[in-house]
Assembly symmetry: C2
Homo-oligomer: 260 residues x 2
């Protein structure tokens, strides 16, 4: 049984302001909670409905975590999913989670995202980055928050393995470039060089732009390599662009393929 | 000004049953409506709010289309978007739209989707297929409906260029295989051959499975080529799988790359 105040608090967590003020975030569903439990994050509370009691009792939950059985009604109030999975965890946002410090390690491949707005896109990009061994993602400050419930859900747990850094993106990339003039900077644009046929270094920073506007001029100007995913069939009638999470995946796949 | 009945009818269109019963569907937003107008579909009604009056009057809308100005309030009642774009079109579902007839043309690349549930995934797959010149997508009958508003939105207009056929998928693929024993059938699975290093024909049918279950055994058994997108870094800790629209995109990209 949850107090009214707790219900109010937990159901406010889809809102970034509330997450920051209270320094907690909410994770939903069995798969995500198992990933959370095996990550370094501190879990405060585990909420479960009657149906999910078995899960809560059978998974060696550390005794430091408060276990609370809730009603289906309470679950729908707190959940931001259409069909709540009857299983939610409240975790602390670690100190320094939003630190914007970042140092580029040579031979790493890093993603830089300018103003990605759609939570599903960011989550899917994090999941894909994890698959392709990308450990760091730099995001402009206007990019959707990584602890947004829909972002978390789309990462399928990858959020606990990939470090997402919110930063003044242009400034950060300019500084990285100043410190290392040979740093490869890839810009994904619509009129660049053929991704498949170009040769380019297999590390550096891959810059992806906003869903509707793409990368802005300042970023494109910094790029050492401008890349385009070729359309097939040359039909002027085909799609004008690809979804940003799709384009990111194809670029990462091709960079990794070339390096194998 | 819309009658109560019309508002009720139009706002029921996110529901597949209502679309089928009334033989109409709803398209939202400037970009999608421009694509609809230049497609072969018959548009019955164009709804626009005051703000969008200019669009409705300036785009050479055929006189056969009924133009109705609606209030912002009516727009939010009908729209299935959080922030309605003030611009909606009601179009007829063409005769034969749901016909399951399909003939495979030699050297074509076709997608086959088993039980894709998420509207964003199907829409994004259609958009990506269009980019890569795939003209036909076969869907199992349990795949989400292509005229679902969220599917339409994610296609960004590609839905008017790619033919989506709902069919008894297993039966259809079995028959295609019987008719042409040399038909390449690709299955995207987690323990197949390395996509990058394998050689395979560059046409045929690419089979993709449901978001959580993947392709079922019957489909995998029919495959002539089992393909896997290699993970990078070999970390056992990385993501277990890729989102299905991401995996589809990487496979299509690689097949097209090999054929260039």
């Amino acid at each position: 049984m949850l107090s009214k105040n707790k219900i109010k608090l937990f159901s406010s967590l889809p809102d970034k302001k509330s997450r920051i003020e209270n320094n907690i975030f909410l994770v939903e569903g069995e798969k995500m909670i198992l990933e959370l439990l095996s990550s370094g994050f501190t879990v405060q509370t585990l909420l479960f409905t009657k149906k999910m009691k078995g899960f809560a009792l059978n998974n060696n939950i550390p005794s430091s975590i408060e276990l609370i059985e809730i009603s289906d009604d309470e679950a729908s109030k707190i959940s931001s999913q259409k069909t709540p999975q009857g299983m939610m965890a409240v975790a602390s946002i670690p100190d320094g989670f939003y630190s914007d410090s970042f140092s580029f390690r040579e031979n790493n491949l890093v993603l830089a995202l300018q103003d990605i707005q759609d939570p599903g896109n960011l989550g899917t990009i994090i999941r894909t980055a994890d698959w392709f061994g990308v450990k760091h993602i730099l995001c402009s400050k206007s990019t959707v928050d990584v602890l947004n419930p829909k972002v978390l859900q789309s990462t399928m747990g990858a959020v606990f393995r990939v470090k997402v850094v919110y930063t003044d993106l242009l400034k950060t990339i300019r500084e990285l470039k100043e410190n290392s003039s040979s740093l490869p900077l890839f810009a994904a644009i619509l009129d660049g060089n053929d991704l498949y046929r170009s040769t380019f270094p297999l590390h550096g920073i891959l810059m992806m732009g906003n869903e509707s506007k793409g990368l802005s001029e300042e970023f494109i100007r910094l790029a050492t390599h401008k890349l385009t995913i070729p359309r097939f069939g040359n039909s002027i009638e085909s799609s004008e662009s690809l979804n940003v999470s799709i384009a990111t995946a194809i670029l990462l796949s091709e960079i990794r393929r070339k390096s194998m």
